[in-house]
C-alpha cells in the first residue's frame, strides 16, 4: 500500500528469515502471512478466534493469527506450518498426523499441528484427557479428533516434556 497515509512498516522474523513490509494497520497477522508473504499454509476459518485454523507461533507461543494485527506483531518471530518441516523432511508431528490418518479434508490440519507442537512444549500431554483439553482451541469439522489425539500421543511418548527432542527447521 505505497500511497496509504496510514501505512506502517512492519519487521517480522518469519520461519527464521527477517522480512520488512508496509501494511495498512487493519491487516491481521493472518492476512499479512497469506496475502503479503504468500504463506498460505496458515488457514482462515472463522476470523474470530473460535476455530484455531489460523494458529501460528508468535515468539514461541501459539496464538490465533486472525485476532492480532500485523502491526501488533512488529519485531516478533513467527513460525508457520511452512517453517516446521518440508515435504521431504516432515516434522515428527506432521509425520504422526500422516501415519495416524489425523485429517480428512485437511483444512484445520496446519492449525492442529501448530497447536500440537506447542502443546508438547507446554507439557500438557500427560493423558488423552489433558491432550483433548489443551487442543480444545482447534476445531475439526471433519471430526478427526480421535486420530488427532492418537498422533499427539504418539509424538509425546517419543519426546521429553520440554519438547526438546522435536527438531524444527529453524534449529537445523
Amino acid at each position: 500500500m505505497p500511497n496509504d497515509p496510514h501505512a506502517l512498516t512492519v519487521t517480522l522474523r518469519v520461519n527464521g528469515e527477517e522480512t520488512r513490509f508496509d501494511v495498512d494497520p487493519r491487516t491481521t497477522l493472518l492476512d499479512a502471512l497469506r496475502d503479503r508473504l504468500h504463506l498460505t499454509g496458515t488457514k482462515k476459518g472463522c476470523g474470530l478466534g473460535q476455530c484455531g485454523a489460523c494458529t501460528v507461533h508468535l515468539d514461541g507461543r501459539r496464538i490465533v493469527s486472525c485476532l492480532t494485527l500485523a502491526v501488533m506483531a512488529d519485531g516478533a518471530s513467527v513460525t508457520t506450518i511452512e517453517g516446521l518441516g518440508t515435504p521431504d523432511a516432515l516434522h515428527p508431528m506432521q509425520e504422526a498426523f500422516v501415519a495416524c490418518d489425523a485429517f480428512q479434508c485437511g483444512y484445520c490440519t496446519p492449525g492442529q499441528i501448530m497447536s500440537a507442537v506447542a502443546l508438547l512444549q507446554e507439557g500438557h500431554c500427560g493423558s488423552d484427557e489433558e491432550i483433548r483439553e489443551h487442543m480444545s482451541g482447534n476445531l475439526c469439522r471433519c471430526g478427526a479428533y480421535a486420530n488427532i489425539v492418537d498422533a499427539i500421543r504418539t509424538v509425546a511418548g517419543a519426546t521429553d516434556r520440554s519438547g526438546a527432542a522435536v527438531p524444527s527447521r529453524e534449529d537445523a
Binding site: L67, T68, R132, S136
Partner: protein
Amino acid sequence: MRAFTYERLDAATGASRRADHPGTTYIAGGTDLLQLMQEGIAHPRALLDVSRVGTTGVTAQLDGIRIGAATRLADVIEDPIVAERLPLVAEALAASASPQVRNMATIGGNLLQKTRCLYFRDVTTPCNKREPGSGCPAQAGQNRLNAVFGGSPHCIATHASDLAVALVALDAEVIVERAGGEKSIRLDDFYRLPGDTPYVETALEPGDLITAVFVPIQATNLPGRYLKVRDRASFEWALVSAAVALVVADGEVVAARVAAGGVGTKPWRLPAVEDRLVGRPMDVQTLQLAAEAAADGADPRPGNAFKVPLLVNAVARALAATADQEANR
C-alpha cells in the same frame, strides 16, 4: 473495518491524556476488540497498544497480591504465586477461552470484554447497549444466555468474564491510572448495573488506563473452587459458574466468599449464600441450605429459567468441592 491509526505505547505515564479523545481506544491482546471491529460493532479511529505498558507479572506484597494489567492469562495461570495463593483465580483462568487466546489475552482486557448477548454481537438487530435507545430484543426474544440478576427493562446482558467472578468473590480492586493520579476501585463497584444506561458498563472515565488488579491479603491462601457449566466440555463461555472460597476452623465455617457468573449483568456476589454458611457447622446440610439461597431474588425469563436450578446445583457442587479441598489440607 474502518481505517485507524496505530501506535505502540512504552509507558503508562501520559497514556490517559493521550487516550482521552473520542475514537481513541486502547488495545492490549486484541482478542475482544478485534472481534468487535471485524463485526462492525466497534470502529475506533486511533488504537494505542498498551500490551507492553506497566509492570507485567504477579507480585506478592505485604498487603496482598498484585497482577499487572498487561499480563497474559496463560502467564497468570502458570505463575507459582497464583497457583499457591490464588487457586480460585488460576482455576477460573484455566477454564477461560482456548490455549491460543490465553497466550494473547491480558488481565485488563479480560475485565473489559463485552457481553456475548446475541443481539449485541449482531449489528443487524437493535440493542440499547450498542445503540442507545434502539431497544432490547432480548427481553422477549432469545434470552437463553442472558441474566437472571441485575437486569432492567433496558438490558439483561450478562458479563462474560470468568476471571471477574473469581475476583469479585475475593474483593479484588482495579488499579487505574487517571490523569491526575492513581485510583483504586473495588471490582464490585467497578461494574455498573444497566439501569437505563446499559452502555455505561464500568466506573472508568475517558482515558483511564487499568494498570493492575489487586487481591487483598485476607482473600489470599484460601481453599476455593471455580466451577463452570457450559454447553460443551471446554472452550465456551459459562452458562452458569460458581466461585467459592471458605475459611473453616474447628469444623465451623468462619468466612465464606461466593460469587456467580453467567447469571448477572455483572459478576454476581451471593451474600445470602454466604450468610447461611458463616457460623454454621461445615456439613452437608449447611452446604445444601446455603446453596438454595443462590436462587434468592432471581428474575428469570422463559428462555433462561433453567439457569436458576443450574445455579443452585453449581453452587452446591462448588461448596462441596471446596469442603473436600479443605478437609484434605
